[in-house]
Amino acid sequence: MSGAVKGPAGGSAGGSLGFLRFAARRLAEMAATLVGASFVIFGAMYLAPGSPAGFLLSGRSASPEALKAVNAHYHLDDPFLLQYLRWAGQILHGDFGRSITYRTDVSRLLADRLPATLLLVAMALVLVTAAGLLLGWIGAVRGGRTDSAVLVGTTFALGTPSFVAAVLLQGLFAVELGWFPTGGTGEGFGQLLWHLTLPAVALALYLIGLLARVTRAAMLEVLGQEHVTVALSRGLSRHRVIRRHVFRNALGTVLTTGGLIVSTLLVCTVLVESAFSVGGIGQLLELSTTTKDFPTVQAISLIMVGLFMTVNLVVDLLHPLVDPTVTLGARRSPA
């Protein structure tokens, strides 16, 4: 009857060396995917009808100087692979090229506009996390009518695109009631927060529905497990059991939706910023797409994909810490 303990079954977060190896592998995978994604983003302009130079200048007077500038930046006479490598190298040095519409460095444009977008996404993320977890929690725990209300509410949230939410919220709270501004960003940080409130709600609504559904389903699954009954049989209060065992165990599943949530938030800034005239990179993506300002489109696409993949990596690395039963390196789908 020795107290000998079996070795880690299938690997756990315990072995720090194993974790480092896992992190290194995920980092390498992410880099590979990022290279692939940048290849797609760069190569897209070769899909355009006509010559790349003509496409890059489409809709504008193709003056010899302009053509020369484009050629100088993209080195369009070089072989494709070399062009790509040069482009990628410039981006690694923070040079995203020049905006054709704004006649300025894309990196300048981004630096001006990224903060508003990041703040908007952060506000929406706070809303999604708070409301999504709360609704999922009370739906799973209360059951009955409360649960039905949560289900109906999330069903409609999941059917409401962010631009629909944006227009409806604008009509009701900005125009009819006049509680919030109809758009813009205002002066100063307080005003910025004030102006971004409705956009953040519009951005969050759909994802609140999504997160509430996921949380509810995950908690219901744990609630049906026997260790919950055991915890109650040992005198823990129902509230404590739900917090320490049910919610805690559901958190791993909830975390895996993090990548999807952030990527949806980022992409939908295009719609919401356009609807509320917020001068962020979402609105810039819309403007540069309509004006065929391709360097800017490339830069924003790359930034969105990069941010999304970073979040996915963080989620992957956090998951074994939240749920020690997860086998390191097991593949998951991001959806």
């Binding site: 995917t33 899909l47 355009a48 631009f163 295009v270 991001p334």
Partner: protein
């Protein structure tokens, strides 16, 4: 403090209470499809007919759902708009389902390097949210319905192929497949006649849900002015056209297409999810 849940077969109540909602949603889907098909005959006006003097008029006997800022009849545009708004998602779902099943079945059945190449490219597509891929392609090709439909179909393909792959892998492990193989049936025969029919209901249920998502994405592109051409009636475009009217206190011409989008997506989601539930229950 009543806490434990007894799971005894004799106590399981058969749940039939949710059926009416599903029927309601199915009915709504049928109604929207019917409106789209019959739009040219039932629309009260040409959707692009302009009565400038009547702009932003409310509902009346002549214009049941009012008139938009350009003086066009909202009902006529809603009905005609149903066509583009449904046709786009239909294209996305049809293409992504067919190609996704083909890719998924091949990956699962052949395995090996093909499977790993396909799952690598799946990973790459997953890195691009559907909307972003669509915007990238629209920025290259210019506006129009075809480019975003193809872009979204590619973005949705991995979801279908991944699902198909796991379903086929499970199906492949069943004894009957081996029995057929022993009898000398070719892999292709077994796939076409047994495996694909077996996984179809689950895949189609997922595609029904995807239809709603594709509708959301395409309507969003139209709202940005990147989808359908400006004059084509489309729900997303109608929301865009109506937004400035909203800001001037005339919400009706934007609220109605909003409602059309939300109700249609909800209906497709509910039908798809319930269908998936039923298939899962039958399989158990």
């Amino acid at each position: 403090m009543s806490t434990t849940v007894l799971r005894r077969p004799g106590l399981a109540r058969i749940r039939t209470t949710r059926a009416p909602l599903q029927h309601l949603c199915l009915g709504f889907v049928a109604l929207v499809v019917l409106a789209a098909v019959l739009a040219p005959w039932i629309a009260p006006y040409d959707p692009n007919r302009i009565e400038l003097g009547n702009a932003l008029a409310g509902p009346s006997a002549d214009h049941l759902l009012g008139v938009d800022a350009s003086g066009r009849d909202t009902l006529a545009r809603l009905l005609t708009g149903a066509r583009t708004s449904l046709l786009g998602p239909l294209g996305v779902v049809a293409f992504s389902t067919l190609a996704g099943v083909a890719v998924g079945v091949t990956a699962a059945w052949r395995g090996g390097w093909l499977d790993s190449v396909l799952s690598r490219s799946t990973e790459l597509v997953f890195a691009f949210p559907g909307m972003l891929l669509a915007i990238l392609i629209v920025s290259v090709y210019g506006e129009g319905l075809l480019a975003p439909v193809i872009a979204l179909a590619i973005a949705y393909l991995p979801y279908v192929s991944r699902l198909t792959r796991s379903l086929v892998l499970a199906e492949r492990g069943r004894p009957y497949v081996e029995a057929y193989q022993v009898q000398g049936h070719s892999g292709l025969q077994i796939c076409l006649r047994h495996v694909i029919p077996a996984v179809t209901p689950v895949v189609l249920a997922q595609s029904t849900v995807n239809f709603g998502y594709a509708l959301i994405d395409l309507a969003g592109l139209s709202f940005l002015g990147l989808g359908v051409p400006a004059l084509t009636p489309d729900w997303g475009r109608m929301v865009f056209d109506g937004q400035s009217a909203v800001q001037h206190g005339y919400p009706l011409s934007a609220v109605l297409p909003c409602a059309a989008v939300v109700l249609t997506v909800v209906a497709f989601n509910v039908v798809g999810e319930r269908w998936a539930d039923q298939v899962a229950r039958r399989d158990r």
